[in-house]
Symmetry: C2
């Protein structure tokens, strides 16, 4: 008997809250990749997937899959790891949504030749490497990286993965998974400011993260005349002032940038800085704007080194390109929201997501729900229950349409 599939509001919210108990830390969670709590959450999810009638696999890097018994499926999910002092919804929301959609479809008996595969990817937050689980699943990381990444506690990735050493590897099967649909909290203030419960993601921004290093010489700041100094901090401040002005000038409407840290050594009031570091990050969904910033940065580093030879160097720690959502997926999400009467808004994702890794290989779509106060990566992170439920309803309706259009 085929019924109209429905989100079970109570089951959805109670599963989210139950998952938040694993690694609970006040109102937030601490489930950094491959911690005891993260692994426990993955086993909890595996059991939930099994109970939902899905075929379970935990793979060699800790990705958890719950696959429908069909030959073709929409891949859905997100991640269940967190930052060290994280919130309860970042990642978890998308995984439990996918589980609930699978259960709703199954209960209604609507899954035929095309179904859904649910996934929780590992280490999305990059305690070892950003989007590690999804990039490994997609074949973009080989095993050599296991010996190249450490977490902040000095644990080697290869050691952390011992917990999964008896597991099989998994590989994205493009002939099976015709697309990937991920829901996530917005992690920003826009939807809340607009008063809309649903965001239709247009693209995931490209991200550049780098550090600039400035070198000088530590001298006594009382006894060394100003002209005889080599002040690493002075070079940093001069370059930074110019970056501030030029980035502002060159920015597109949605470009964001951040100078998140400055480190000076030895760092004493009476010692001229010998070494200085500047953290630079910028993001845009338009590659041209990223390239403008790249050019400004390179130009300013050249200018600094022309003024004082070898005073400045750069190392890039992340450089991803913007990735667009599939237009069909976007339309389907928009139609689903409209059908259910939930106001929605096109919105770029300023944060990276597993979808950015998967989207290099198959079509992707993403849905956002509002973050209260725009807060995330903090125990204060939260979303109104009504918005959590609205997002799940839109995701379910969109999934039905995508399965029908592929069938």
């Amino acid at each position: 008997v085929i019924q109209h599939p429905k989100i079970d509001r109570d089951r959805l919210l109670s599963d989210l809250r139950e998952l938040a108990e694993i690694g609970k830390d006040g109102t937030g969670v601490r489930r950094p990749a491959y911690s005891e709590a993260d692994i426990a959450a993955r086993h909890w999810l595996a059991e939930k997937f099994r109970t939902a009638g899905l075929d379970v696999q935990i793979d060699r890097v800790g990705n958890v899959f719950g696959r429908s018994r069909v030959s073709r499926a929409l891949l859905m999910g997100s991640h269940s790891d967190s930052v060290p002092y994280g919130g309860w919804l970042d990642g978890s929301l998308g995984v439990i949504y996918a589980l609930e959609v699978a259960r709703a479809l199954s209960a209604a008996g609507v899954i035929g030749a095309v179904g859904v595969d649910v996934v929780s990817f590992a280490d999305e937050e990059g305690m070892f490497a950003g989007w590690f689980g999804s990039r490994t699943h997609c074949g973009d990381f080989d095993d050599s990286v296991w010996r190249k990444f450490w977490n902040a506690e000095g644990v080697l990735l290869a050691e952390a993965l011992e917990a999964f050493k008896d597991r099989q590897r998994s590989t994205l099967d493009k002939s099976r998974n015709f697309g990937y649909l991920e829901a996530h909290i917005e992690q920003g203030p826009r939807l809340e400011a607009l008063g809309k419960p649903v965001g239709i993601v247009t693209s995931i921004v490209g991200i550049r993260t780098c550090k600039l290093y400035f070198s000088g010489r530590a001298d006594h700041a009382g006894t060394t005349p100003m002209p005889m100094r080599k002040d690493a901090g002075k070079h940093l401040v001069a370059l930074l002032s110019r970056l501030c002005a030029r980035f502002k000038e060159a920015a597109g409407e949605d470009t964001v940038w951040n100078f998140g840290n400055i480190i000076m050594k030895p760092g004493a009031a009476n010692v001229v800085p010998e070494h200085a570091e500047l953290f630079v990050q910028y993001r845009d969904s338009d590659a041209k704007n990223l390239q403008s910033f790249d050019a400004i940065l390179a130009d300013e580093i050249r200018a600094a080194n022309a003024a004082e030879p070898n005073c400045c160097s750069m190392s890039s720690t992340m450089a991803t390109e913007p990735i667009a959502m599939d237009p069909h997926f976007r339309q389907v999400l928009r139609d689903a929201a409209t059908q259910l009467g939930h106001a929605c808004e096109d919105i770029p994702s300023g944060a990276g997501h597993d979808a950015a890794a998967v989207g290099m290989h198959i079509p992707i779509g993403m849905l956002f729900v509002p973050s209260i106060g725009g807060r995330s990566h903090t125990p204060e992170e939260n979303t109104a229950d009504e918005h959590i439920v609205a997002g799940a309803e839109v995701l379910l309706a969109a999934t039905q349409r995508l399965l029908e259009s592929d069938a």
Copy 2:
């Protein structure tokens, strides 16, 4: 029998080297105030003073005195504590010089009614409080501060002083000590650059040290649009850029300034800085220049808070006024150098010294010897043996003249 007093070159250098063995750390020393090594060095000095025929006192805060058995004396010395990774001459040079001068005068039989008192002051380097020993001896610190200062390891000053709990207090006796003469390494590059072995200190700079605090809000640097941010780092950089320009504009010929550290929290590439700190220090021997800088700083803090209410605050950690050397002492030092054929140069002291504390109460003079490469507060700190000996010879000749002129 009165002979011509002479510096014993070998005794001088071997005493300096023997003292450097206490708390030795590679080519440097680690004798932070009231550490085991610092206390051991003080007992070693007491024994040296005793052997030299001086009356020894270690006082209630660890100052070590070796007094001549006369009713009137020139106080001479420096300090024997060091910064944690310090050099072998900073402070020690001036103490061993004073000891050697006392021995040379005594051996020559020239001490009559007026003699020399030798001192090694405690905690000159301010592990607990800058010039703590000399300021206490001069009556500028009462015991209440013992419960107000901690060192970086969290030890309370009162606890550190337990090592001297059975000792008597000491107080500067102005009717006895008609002046204070201190020799020290330059800690800067000027004498070396000039090729002169002796510096006649003109004054000790006034020093302002403060921290500026900037407050903002931690937001996700990818998802929070630029206009919705409160970026503590942005305020800091804006103010610092203006300070750099205005300090340069207002500086006198010898004004020095330093922005020795910047701290940002939480300090992640992808989080907007919630909190930022800027270390500011400036020094000048001309009080007017210090006041100009004070006014610029106050003005820029006002401007920052006018632009963004309460985004910036300041706490002052040090504010000393410049102090001039006694003209007679300067002349005597210059005459002594000239008499011995050692080229000398008038030079302001960019670093603080115990003389600055003592100079609030009695006339002071200071002599510098060159620092190789201008290095100090590092194990690389060094001075050529010939310069060490030349400095001692000038100090001895100057001391004779000062004793004669007071007699």
